[in-house]
Structures are given as structure tokens and as C-alpha cells.
């Protein structure tokens, strides 16, 4: 059963034909060729597939492509505009990534987190990324990376970047 959908991905409009049962993550990766969005667990647990759908972070392995018809999608490929996004810079400066597999999902989740709560506490950050699993970093440097980005986006001095190795 095929249907045509029109989606705006990172500001660019695409019309693609999808099967009704096609999951959004497959359309993004295989039809739109944006492979920054990862598939980790395929069971809505790990958050590697997180993208923004009309500004809200969702797990694209658990959303049908047809559900995105007429909507806006943001993926990690659209984050950097004039240079790195403050979150990307934060992850880079604070060793917020190691193998990088979870990173696109972490970044996209953190985009919404900071938008709703520009100055989150450490606990709020940990809570905010509780749907994203990282197998490498132990999370501490991811939390710092998000704090760094928050400060930068608020126009404050960024905290010193002493990465924590655990």
C-alpha cells in the first residue's frame, strides 16, 4: 500500500512515495539519504533515531512515515548553520561523544530540551536525556556538553571545559 507524502526536512521540501508501513527512520535514512539519524535498538528504547517532528523530539523508529505527511522534520544534518551549533560545539569541547553512535539522537533531544528550558539544572538535563542511551561516555560529559551549549545560547560565558574521565 503506497502513499505520497510531503515533508520539509531541514528546511527543504521533499515529496516521496512510501509504503504505509514504512517507519520514518527508514524514509529519512534510505529515501532521503540522511544517515546521521541512527537505528540502535529499533524498539523505542535507545533514542539513537531521535529527530524533531514539528519541533518535538520523537523516536523515528516508532513513527510511521505517513504520520509525518505535511510536517517539518529536523535531523542532525541541519544543526550546523554558520559553523557548529552550540550543542555540537559543547559535545566537541567536553568530550561528549566517544564512538558517536548515540550523538545525533542526543543532540536532537537536547535541542528541544534547551528550547523548552534554556537553563536546566543538572538533574533536569539527566532527566531530559533519559530516553537516550550512551554505551561509551558514562553521560557525565554529555551533561557538561549540554550545560556548555545552554550557557552559550544564553549569551553567558561558557563553563571551563575540563572533561571528566571515568
Amino acid at each position: 500500500m503506497k502513499k505520497q507524502i510531503t515533508v520539509t526536512v531541514n528546511g527543504e521540501q521533499h515529496t516521496v512515495e512510501v509504503e504505509t508501513r514504512t517507519l520514518l527512520v527508514h524514509t529519512i535514512r534510505e529515501q532521503l539519504r540522511l544517515t546521521g539519524t541512527h537505528i540502535g535498538c529499533d524498539t523505542s528504547s535507545c533514542g539513537a533515531c531521535t529527530v524533531l517532528l514539528d519541533g518535538k523530539s520523537i523516536k523515528s523508529c516508532t513513527v510511521l512515515s505517513i504520520q509525518a505527511d505535511g510536517k517539518e522534520i529536523s535531523t542532525v544534518e541541519g544543526l550546523a548553520k554558520d559553523g557548529l551549533h552550540p550543542l555540537q560545539e559543547g559535545f566537541k569541547e567536553n568530550h561528549g561523544l566517544h564512538c558517536g553512535f548515540c550523538t545525533p539522537g542526543m543532540l536532537m533531544r537536547a535541542v528541544e530540551l534547551l528550547e523548552k528550558n534554556p537553563n536546566p539544572t543538572e538533574e533536569e538535563i539527566r532527566w531530559g536525556i533519559s530516553g537516550n542511551l550512551c554505551r561509551c561516555t558514562g553521560y557525565n560529559n554529555i551533561v557538561k556538553a549540554i550545560q556548555y551549549a545552554g550557557a552559550k545560547m544564553r549569551g553567558e560565558e561558557t563553563p571551563s571545559t575540563e572533561p571528566e574521565f571515568v
Binding site: M1, E19, K59, T62, V63, I66, Q67, L113, G131
Partner: protein
Amino acid sequence: MIPAPFDYAAPATLAEAFSLLEQHGDEAKILAGGHSLIPMMKLRFASPEFLVDINNIPGLSHIKEENGYLKIGALTRETELDESEVIRSKYPIFTDASKLIADPQVRNMGTVGGNIAHGDAANDHPAVMLALRAEVDISSSEGTRSVPIDEFFYGFYMTAVQPHEILTEIRIPIPNGKTGNAYHKLERKVGDYATAGVAVQITIDDAGVCTYIGIGLTNVNPVPLRAVRSEEVLLGQKVTDELIKEAAKYASEDCNPSEDLRGDEAYKRSMVNVLVKRIIHKALERAHA
């Protein structure tokens, strides 16, 4: 994992949705947030031939107090509960519960209506709705009927909602007097279903006598369970630690948990016992506040 093929429509009105449901009978499934249905379809535990996506139908998403009720539209997302001022200030039980449901991305999609319509005793809203004595509006082309939550859960994945019907609104009587409510579930990690969960709403008068009590239990029974015997112990009595202990004991006896990775039956009963005590105390604290 990809679901089996199906046909799909996203009607813009309730009338169109009803006609699609009538046309396809029990081959059709309603798609709300999709975060119970799509995982089941991916695992091929469910293979509906037709999906009726209700997300384009206006009027199904709201949180408002009106005519003595708190009204929650079926399509209201968990995140919207978290962010609602009226919920935060007056119904902390929902903030307790929604924070324990899944994770932020899932809560951006999952709906309150879907959470109870799924008919899963592991979900958290059913116990909350039992404690609050919610009424559920179920609509079809024939009109809307209102079902008390006590008559809503039929069995495993079975509810009062028939294949041609749509759950449209949940109504909760606005509590009066000194009322407090609370929810907690024991979970192994974020996003896990409850080992055991307990929802309580209690009203006391100035003399400390209980004039209303609702207790709902999560994931310790084949269907969401209202702890009736526990409620009876407290209703009309001055609330004491002794009575709370007795209520907790009854709840642990009256539920029927099954052994799984989260624990064996005895452990779960004992967790119900502990949680009922704790959550009654927490609800009482809030009633006094």
C-alpha cells in the same frame, strides 16, 4: 522490524472516522500516539488491516475544568499533562504519573486516551483514573455514552470501547474539601513498566475523617485493579496509621500479580503493601498542605 502491510487514512472529522471504523469492523485499529500500537505491529503481535489515524481530528486534545469536571481530551499528550498549569497546581497525581511514564520522546507522542484504551494493566493511567473515579466518554455515529472507569477495563487488552467507537474524553470529578492525591510506581529503570504501582486520592474533613478514598493498582493484576477492600477500611473512619496498615495489607492480598523478570509474586505483593502505605501518606500530606 517492519509492520505487516495495512491501509491507512487520517480523517479530518469524527464522522469520517466513525464511517471508516464501521466499514472495516474489527480489522481496523485506531492510531493515536502509536507508542503501544506501532511496537506491537513491528513485533507482529498486532496486524490490523486498516489504521484510522485520529491525529487530524480537531477537538480531541484539551485539559480544562468545566461544570465540576476536569476534562482531558483523548488525544492529549503526556507532555501536555506535564506542562499544564491546572494539572501542576491542582492534580499532582498526573504529574507524578506522567513523569514515570516512558521517556520524554515517548511522552511527546503517547496520549492519555491511548494509555487507557490500550487496556494494559501495566500502563500507569488506568490506576490513576480508578483512584479518581474518572468517567470515560465513548463516541460513535450513534452518539456518545459515558462509562464509569470501574466498568471500563474488561480483560487483557480489552476495554469497553467497541470496534466502531472512539474514546473522546476522560472526565474527572473536581475534588473538593481537603483532598490530596499521589502516584508512584516501583520501576527498575526509566521507561520500564511498573513492578508495582499505586494511585491514591483521599479527602478528609476537619476532624480527620476520610470522606473519599480511591486506590488503584498498576501491573499487579490481569486488569487494572481498584483496591475496594482497602478503600472500605478507611472510608468514614478517622485515618490512623493502624488503618492505613490494614488497607495496605488488604491491597497486597487482593491483587493477583504474576511472576516475571521484575520479581516473583510474593515480592510484588510485598511491594504493593509498602507502596499503598507510602502513597496514602503522601496523599494525606498533600491534603493537609
